[in-house]
Amino acid sequence: MKLASTLTFAATLALGLLNGCTRHQPPATSDLINTDATLHGQLPYPILSWTPLVVTVDRTMGTTSTLFTDGTSRALVTWSQREDPHWFGARIPGAPQRVELVDPTNGTHQYRVFSGSPLTEQTVSGDPTERIVAIAAMQQIELP
């Protein structure tokens, strides 16, 4: 039995080496970091360094949003979804669609929106109240 396991080990090793030669290409950067989802552009705050509060998905639009806060303001970042190349059954953020900022202390600039590629500030047309209310109403994940 000892002989058997030694030989098994040797044979497995040999096969492993054989395989090893054809494999082992280092993965491309775009397969290590989700470069598709980069927030290119001029945002006034380092939103990804704020505290993430909650995630939502809109199946119809094919988007996923994450809500962040720095304690005072809230930022809702919305990405198009892409299939997760590493897991069938999962979707992850793809190209950014829009960043909405709600700052209740900022007088007339309570609501700002950035979109396009690179993300650029848009003039807010119409009444943003609905968006402000919707973003303020988002519940954060209740973490134990």
Binding site: M1, L3, A4, S5, L7, T8, A11, T12, L15, G16, L18, N19, R23, H24, Q25, P26, P27, T29, D31, L32, I33, N34, T35, A37, T38, L39, H40, L43, P46, I47, L48, S49, T51, P52, V54, V55, T56, V57, D58, R59, T60, T64, T66, F68, Q81, D84, P85, H86, W87, F88, G89, A90, R91, I92, P93, Q139, I141, E142, L143, P144
Partner: protein, 309 residues
């Protein structure tokens, strides 16, 4: 000179013949037979490609019957059935069977199954793209739901505990400060109707900024927070109850035996440590093994630094 060569060859033949007598068993079925619940076209693919190892009816080619190759195959079959047996899994809940099929498809897609060492010898035993497409079409993770997710009451112990009921059974510490970690990514899991927020500690975030995650530096830790995905029936999906938080803590030395990572999972609002014993993490390493080129991490972090936010 010629004679000693002849003796050597003869000794080789004798050893090979003797080796045939050593026949480790393929293992015996562990439980009652209950084939996986799946439509015939899906079953047919599993039977063709996976049952050779993962079933109560292992199938060996004639050349697999000869030792020493037989020893390798026997070991693979024993090992494979211990992990997953499609002939017995039918006894488990439908959700668990479905989760196994997702894992199966992902192992195939990542080139981990059937075993590469097996495919090196059995050249035509691999899953074809058409077969993979059939499996995926059956699982259809993002089929739109037309009715709202039934409301689930908040968990019984709704008072947040702040601290797990105990340490992870493998000794990986619970990072008390995880609520202040920064975003790494998010996932929308159609396979199990959850949303996930993946976060990292300072070392992890700095490593992403520096593009230094292949491998990740010691001290980096990643959290995966899973919540129920609540669908309003119109395609709006929001976060429901907290399900679990999982951690990977990097230490190439300390966690050498588990891919250089300490794995931990805490479930429910009382953060109950997962698993039956200290070896629960074999489940983690098994599933993460195909990602060895990515330092065993599935998540692709959102870019930071280098002009990005």
């Amino acid at each position: 000179m010629k004679r000693s060569l002849l003796t050597l060859a003869l000794a080789g033949v004798v050893a090979l013949l003797a080796a045939q007598a050593i026949r480790p068993s393929l293992g015996t079925p562990a439980g009652p037979q209950a084939e996986i619940a799946a439509p015939p076209e899906v079953r047919a693919i599993l039977e063709r490609r996976c049952y050779a190892c993962h079933s109560d009816t292992p199938k060996l080619e004639w050349y697999d019957q000869i030792a020493p190759p037989y020893w390798i195959v026997a070991k693979d079959v024993r090992n494979a059935r211990a992990h997953l047996n499609f002939s017995e899994i039918g006894a488990r809940p439908a959700g668990a069977q479905r989760a196994t099929l997702f894992e199966a498809v992902n192992m195939i897609q990542l080139g981990a199954m059937p075993l590469p060492s097996y495919l090196a010898v059995h050249r035509d035993a691999g899953v074809t793209p058409a077969e993979l497409a059939t499996l995926k079409a059956y699982l259809a993770p993002f089929t739109p739901s037309t009715s709202p997710t039934p409301a689930t009451p908040p968990p019984a112990s709704s008072t947040a505990t702040e601290r797990p009921a105990g340490p992870s059974l493998n000794g990986v510490p619970f990072p008390a400060d995880y609520k202040s970690w920064k975003i790494v990514s998010t996932t929308d899991r159609g396979d199990n109707h959850t949303l996930r927020l993946i976060t990292g500690n300072d070392i992890a975030v700095k490593a992403i900024e520096a593009g230094n995650i292949s491998p990740w530096p010691n001290g980096a830790a990643i959290a995966k927070i899973a919540v129920q995905a609540v669908d309003d029936g119109k395609g709006h999906i929001t976060a429901g109850n907290f399900i679990q938080v999982e951690f990977m803590e990097k230490d190439a030395e300390k966690y050498k035996s588990t891919q250089g990572w300490g794995y931990a999972r805490f479930r429910g609002n009382d953060l109950k440590p997962y698993g039956a014993d200290a070896h629960f993490d074999q489940e983690c390493t098994g599933c993460h093994a195909p990602m060895h080129d990515h330092d065993y991490v599935y998540s692709m972090p959102l870019p930071r630094g280098g002009g990005a936010q």
